[in-house]
Symmetry: C2
Subunit: 166 residues, 2 copies
DNA sequence: AGAGGGAATGTTATACTATATCAACCCCTG
DNA sequence: CAGGGGTTGATATAGTATAACATTCCCTCT
C-alpha cells in the first residue's frame, strides 16, 4: 500500500507495484474462468480482490467482516463458498498452518506450491518446489503410496521482520 | 490390531508387529523424558499410547472421548495440554491438513518430517525429506527468508486402499 | 412464451477445533 | 516450612467450518 516502486515479481517479499499485480491477477482470473466456463460472480471476485489487496493470508472470518461491511453477505457460507471456488480452481490457496487463505500468485501454472510464512507480519510468499522428483516421491514409491496432493509450508522470518528483530 | 507378522519398520504402511512398536516407542519416550528431566505423566503417557495403538492420525476430541471413557479427564484442555507436550518434545506430530495428531515414528531423530496421509483409511506414514537442500531452501535463500520450521504433508492413497478401490 | 434443470445465493442452525483464565495441588528446594 | 515451578481441574468462551433447506437466477429446450 505504501510502496510506489514499479516491479512485477509476483512472488517474494519485495516491494512492488501492487495495483498492477492486483489488476493482472484479476484479469488472469477472468480469463481462466471464461476459458473454463466458470462463473466469476461478484462474491467470488470480491473475495479474490480482498486477498489480492491485502497481499497476505487472511482468515475466512476476517474476509467475511469486510464482505459484511460492504453489504455482500454476512454469513459464513458466503465466504467459504467463494474460497472453495477459488481454491478449487487454483486462484487461491489455503494455508493449512494458519487456517487462512491467500491469493495464488501465479494462477494457471500447474505446480506443487510451497509457502514461506512470516510468523511476525504474516506475509506469505508462494514459491515452487521440485518436490515430485525429490525424496518425498522416492519415499512414496518405495512404500506404494499414491500421492494426490502435497502441502509444503515453511514458517520463519521474512527479510523485513528478521532485520527489525535483529 | 489384526496383524501378526513380526517386523519392526517404524514407518510405512506395511503390516508389522504392533505391540512391539508400541512398547518400543513408549520406552523411547520414557528415555527421552528422563534424559531431559521432563515429566512423563499418566495423561501424557496415555495420550501417546492411544496414538500408538491406533497408529493413525486422530482428532483431539477423538482422543478426549477415549480419555473420558477411562476417567482420565473429560475437558478439552486435558488432551490439548498432553498434545502440546508431546508435539513440543518431538514425541508426536500435528497433521495440519487434518487438524489431527499422530505419534512420531522415530522420536529422537532431528529431521524435517513429511507425512503420507491416506484419505480413505486415514493411516499416516512418516518419512524423511531432503527438503533443506532442495529448491525450497534455494527459494528461501533467494528471497532472504529464514526458515524455522517446515511442514510437508502428502495426501493420497495407501497401498491397501488403492488396491481396494481398484 | 413457458417448463425444466443446474448453479449460485440466502438463511438458520449447528458441529468441530482450540484457547483463556483462574483456582488447586504436588513436589522439590532453599 | 515458605516459596515457586510445573501440572492438573474446571468453567467459559473464542475461532473455524459445514449441514441442510428454501429461494432465485439464468440458461436451454420445446
Amino acid at each position: 500500500m505504501t510502496q510506489t516502486k514499479s516491479q512485477t515479481t509476483s512472488v517474494g517479499f519485495d516491494p512492488h507495484d501492487h495495483s498492477h499485480c492486483i489488476a493482472d491477477a484479476l484479469q488472469t482470473a477472468e480469463d481462466i474462468c471464461r476459458a473454463q466456463k466458470l462463473q466469476f460472480t461478484p462474491a467470488r471476485r470480491r473475495v479474490l480482490e480482498i486477498l489480492l489487496e491485502r497481499h497476505r493470508a487472511m482468515g475466512a472470518y476476517e474476509i467475511l467482516d469486510i464482505l459484511a461491511a460492504e453489504g455482500m453477505g454476512s454469513q459464513p457460507p458466503v465466504v467459504y463458498r467463494a474460497l472453495d471456488f477459488l481454491t478449487g480452481h487454483g486462484l487461491a490457496h489455503r494455508i493449512e498452518r494458519m487456517n487462512a487463505y491467500a491469493a495464488c500468485t501465479h494462477p494457471g501454472a500447474s505446480h506443487v506450491p510451497a509457502f514461506l510464512i512470516c510468523r511476525l507480519c504474516k506475509a506469505v510468499a508462494e514459491v515452487e518446489t521440485g518436490l515430485d522428483s525429490g525424496r518425498l516421491g522416492d519415499a512414496a514409491r518405495n512404500t506404494g503410496f499414491t500421492i494426490e496432493k502435497v502441502v509444503v509450508e515453511a514458517e520463519g522470518l521474512c527479510p523485513g521482520c528478521a532485520e527489525a528483530a535483529a
